[in-house]
């Protein structure tokens, strides 16, 4: 049909080719050049941080993009590629990253890389030599290296640098007993020190040829103390050794250095732990409870979507064709227009057992434990989620109803169908065809409806018997959030394992439900 409308080119070739304008060509060149520049920059960055795998991946991606856009053929690929790139960057990468984290013990106590942990342990073991005096110092510079000019408490003047022990020196300037300058060196003032502050932080001046005597360090550039380093890292044996006692701390393979008694050095580091997190999820104690949480999550999602859709459809049918539909529509959209975080907090206040408006005013001082009783709390969160959600389905159903041809209903009526039959056999199926993909999406959304649950009850009421801190209204995603962020000890590894499992569950359910939806579409 399109072919007929298109004027045939004078020299009719075998294939129709759109004419390429100069402007279009130039903008194409500029855009692809920009993409290539960005891509090459990323590749160089990946190489710089030794991520060869990612670099190769990026090069491949760039080649593919260039081939796709410089090729004459393959128009669909040109449209699909940007979407695919964003899908990879924002969805696939996140999923892969979550899976990787789920195999680590990342979390409280295992927060940093091993190198940083060793650095921290060593830095924390550098302590001021007990009872040692304070030295007044100036920071000197010569040939890009820093030196400390120290005035000892006895009025002795000393100079030294990294790997260059302190030695007596004759200063060229002394201000109120403190040496400030030495010939051949330039004295750095505070403002100049800021420019070299990382270098200053690493300046350690040995007191003596013997490192065990300690060394001078200055954190502020004007006074210094004698420090000794208690722990040394031995890379060849992968152990930390105490410099005076000789005690050895070994890597226990679980992200900690431990001594012979199993006492850990803090901090530890993040390391892979295999399937430990998954076995925790499916551990004997948690399994039964987790099943309970899963069943509740499922019932919450189903009840919430069913009631939301039911109420929305009911209101749509009632209001459809009524005078002033627009006014009703505007009014009913209100709950949808407020942010859930705000109205959720308001609802949790309204439903407070002693002080809430519902009990105090509407029920005349009754003490109904809306959010405190495990069963009532479940009902309350479902009802509030319906309040949040019905305007959406109301709008969708209203639109769907208005698109159902009236002839169909009339024809059915002529054939003698009763009003209910018309609704259930003609109107409802047609509405369902339009809305069933939205129902699946709504189900997936409710399955992960973090906002409603967390703002309203934080997963409570609390169940003290729970070994995984699951409250009565906790759905899987709020449980994950509690594991990862709320308690005093966070466990990103375990939370990621939960997230991967939720992801799999939702994927399987969505695939199944979309199959069913397609069947529905084929029937009608």
């Amino acid at each position: 049909m399109l072919r007929l409308l298109t004027p045939k080119p004078a020299s009719a070739g075998s294939e129709f080719r759109p004419r390429v304008s100069i402007f279009g060509l130039i903008s194409k060149i500029i855009l692809i050049a920009l993409v290539n520049a960005l891509g090459l920059f990323m590749v160089s960055q990946f190489f710089l941080v030794n991520q060869v795998g990612l670099a190769v991946f990026a090069i491949l991606g760039l080649v593919i993009i260039n081939v796709i856009y410089w090729r004459r053929k393959g128009l669909p690929a040109k449209y699909l590629t940007p979407g695919l790139v964003f899908l990879l960057a924002f969805q696939v990468f996140v999923i892969i990253y979550t899976v990787i984290i789920s195999f680590t013990n990342s979390g409280t106590g295992h927060n940093v890389s091993k190198e940083s942990a060793i650095e921290s342990i060593i830095n924390n073991s550098i302590v001021r030599l007990e009872g040692s005096p304070t030295y007044n110092v100036r920071v000197l510079e010569q040939g890009g290296n820093l030196f400390l000019l120290a005035t000892s408490p006895d009025g002795e003047f000393l100079l030294g640098g990294n790997n260059q022990p302190l030695e007596s020196v004759v200063p060229s300037n002394i201000v109120s007993g403190i040496a400030t300058e030495v010939d051949g060196y330039s004295t750095l003032e505070l403002a100049q020190l800021f420019a070299v502050q990382e270098q200053l932080a690493e300046l350690t001046v040995p007191l003596d040829e013997d490192p065990a005597k300690g060394y001078l360090r200055s954190a502020n550039g004007s006074s210094a103390f004698i420090f000794v380093q208690n722990l040394l890292f031995d890379a060849s044996t992968n152990t930390l050794v105490h410099s005076s006692t000789g005690e050895t701390f070994v890597d226990n393979g679980e992200g900690n250095f431990v001594d012979a008694n199993g006492e850990q050095l803090q901090p530890g580091w993040s390391t892979t732990v295999g399937f430990a997190n998954y076995s925790k999820v499916f551990g004997a104690a948690a399994q039964f409870e987790l099943l309970g949480v899963f069943v509740w999550t499922l019932s919450y999602a189903v009840a919430s979507v069913a009631l939301t859709f039911g109420l929305g459809l009911f209101l749509a049918i009632t209001i459809n064709g009524l005078r002033g539909t627009r006014v009703y529509r505007s009014l009913l959209i209100l709950p949808y227009a407020f942010p859930v975080f705000l109205s959720g907090l308001i609802w949790s206040g309204l439903l407070n057992e002693t002080f809430g408006y519902v009990n105090q005013v509407l029920l005349g001082g009754a003490e109904v434990p809306w959010l405190q009783d495990p069963i009532l709390a479940k009902i309350s969160v479902i009802l509030v989620s319906v309040w949040f959600g019905f305007p959406y389905f109301f709008l969708v159903c209203l639109g769907a109803l208005q698109s159902v041809p009236t002839e169909l209903a009339e024809a059915a009526r002529v054939d003698g169908a009763k009003p209910f039959q018309v609704f259930s056999q003609i109107t409802l199926p047609l509405v369902l065809v339009a809305t069933s993909p939205l129902l699946v999406a709504g189900f997936a959304f409710s399955f992960n409806d973090f906002n409603t649950i967390f703002v309203l009850t934080s997963g409570g009421p609390i169940n003290v018997d729970s070994s995984i801190s699951a409250g009565a209204t906790d759905i899987l995603i709020t449980l994950v959030y509690k594991q990862a962020f709320v308690s005093d000890t966070v466990d990103f590894g375990l939370a990621s394992a939960f997230a991967v499992i939720i992801f799999l569950v939702i994927t399987i359910m969505s695939v199944f439900l979309f199959r069913r939806t397609r069947a529905l579409e084929e029937v009608y």
Binding site: L48, V49, N124, P267, V464
Partner: protein, 410 residues
């Protein structure tokens, strides 16, 4: 592992950006180097909650101008900032300085804070507050305020201090019966429990949390507290539906005679015009009701890119009497710096809080404490709500749970 790489990428990006900027700026004439004020060359980033941003920022800006650095405050959400700090530092996205409630063992255990050597200035600080900033004898946090909770008493409703908690409840109930109050006693425990506020009542039974490394929270003294808590929940002496905001509002509107809270509510209560005095927490179990001593501190990030400026902030700014008095003007909480304590001791409310604080107990500075808060609050709440059929058993179960968590955390 990704995190550390991200940091490097950031550093490289910054470096390249700097190169580009330098290249662009190259043709410009060289700037004059002889300026009167010290040139700004270090830039500190500080993370804290909005309450302390308002208090610290003017003081710190004045100091920074004097020293010749720039300082930027970033407002963080109170309940999330510690976890955010712990996550951001290894990624190279954290601040140089972090100001928060003392949590030294947690921060050191995650490798995100650097040791600080105060030298002779250590003698300027209250020893207990300073000790809370240490782990294994190494100083990490520099304390600035020492806080403890107390009872605010509405002197119109209750002219005389209550000798015991039972007396307070009896007086409160009489007022409720007479219609001149809504609640006999206000303490904001809801919705998740608040062991910090209730510690005074708990310690009056002789209950402690740890003896060294050994957990003692579930001993007989603790169990006695659990029984009493169940009674208070049932009689309405402590209402589990009362959150912090409701409790404060009840007191400010004169609808309750007693409120347990800290000095952070002092300014608000003053403004409400309710006549009040600050009393010690009345004893419930016969012994002294000792509240927690909470400390607030500044920490230096382990990954600070400005070690000199950060170090000056910790050892110079934080040790100045002027700073400590300035902070006090904002938070009305006893300074940790002894010279500042002497300067502010004329304020009667501060004196009252400080006198009560003399009996306060420090929060145990061991990493096992991180496993206590969650089950502790949950169990208190379950007992108050009457969800635990046997409060003593619930309390013993809580002990089991905490021990398991401590063992699991190593």
């Amino acid at each position: 592992m990704f995190a550390s790489h991200r940091k490097k990428v950031g550093a490289v990006l910054t470096a390249i950006g700097a190169l580009v900027l330098t290249a662009c700026a190259a043709p410009a004439p060289a700037p004059e180097t002889t300026t009167a004020a010290p040139e700004v060359s270090g830039k500190l980033t500080v993370w804290t909650e909005d309450y302390y941003v308002a208090i610290f920022e003017p003081l710190a800006q004045e100091w920074a101008a004097e020293v010749g650095i720039e300082i930027e405050f970033v407002t963080k959400e109170f309940s999330e900032m510690t976890n955010q700090f712990i996550a951001a530092v290894p990624a190279g996205e954290g601040p140089d300085i972090f100001i928060a409630g003392m949590n030294t063992s947690l921060l050191v255990g995650n490798g995100v804070v650097a040791p600080v050597e105060l030298g002779d200035k250590a003698g300027l600080f209250s020893p207990n507050a300073l000790a809370a900033g240490q782990l294994d004898g190494v100083q990490y946090g520099i304390p600035f305020s020492i806080e403890n909770v107390a009872v605010y008493r509405n002197t119109d409703l209750a002219p005389e201090p209550a000798a015991t908690f039972d007396d307070a409840i009896a007086a409160g109930n009489a007022l409720v019966d007479a219609g001149s109050a809504d609640s006999p006693f206000a303490v904001g425990v809801g919705p998740d429990g608040n062991p910090y506020l209730l510690m005074g009542l708990q310690s009056s039974f002789g209950s402690t949390l740890f003896n060294g490394e050994e957990l003692t929270i579930d001993d007989e003294a603790g169990q006695a507290f659990a029984s009493a808590l169940a009674g208070w929940g049932a009689s309405g002496a402590i209402n589990p539906d009362m959150g912090l905001d409701i409790a404060l509002n009840q007191f400010k509107e004169g609808r309750t005679p007693y409120l347990i809270t800290g000095p952070w509510d002092l300014n608000g209560i003053k403004e409400s015009g309710v006549p009040y005095v600050i009393d010690p927490i009345p004893s419930a179990g016969g012994q002294v009701a000792a509240p927690f001593a909470g400390n607030f501190a500044a920490y230096q990030s382990a990954e600070s890119q400005n070690p000199l400026a950060a170090s000056l902030f910790m050892t110079d700014f934080m040790t100045r009497t002027k700073t400590a008095v300035g902070i006090f003007e904002g938070n009305k909480t006893l300074p940790a710096l002894i010279p500042a304590q002497e300067e502010v001791s004329s304020d009667p409310d501060v004196a009252a809080f400080a006198a009560i604080g003399a009996s306060a107990v420090s929060i145990p500075g061991i990493s096992a404490m991180n496993q206590v808060w969650g089950p502790w609050g949950e169990t208190q709440m379950a007992i108050l709500r009457g969800q635990a059929a046997d409060p003593v058993k619930a309390w013993i179960d809580m002990g089991v749970k905490i021990r398991e968590a401590i063992a699991a955390a190593g």
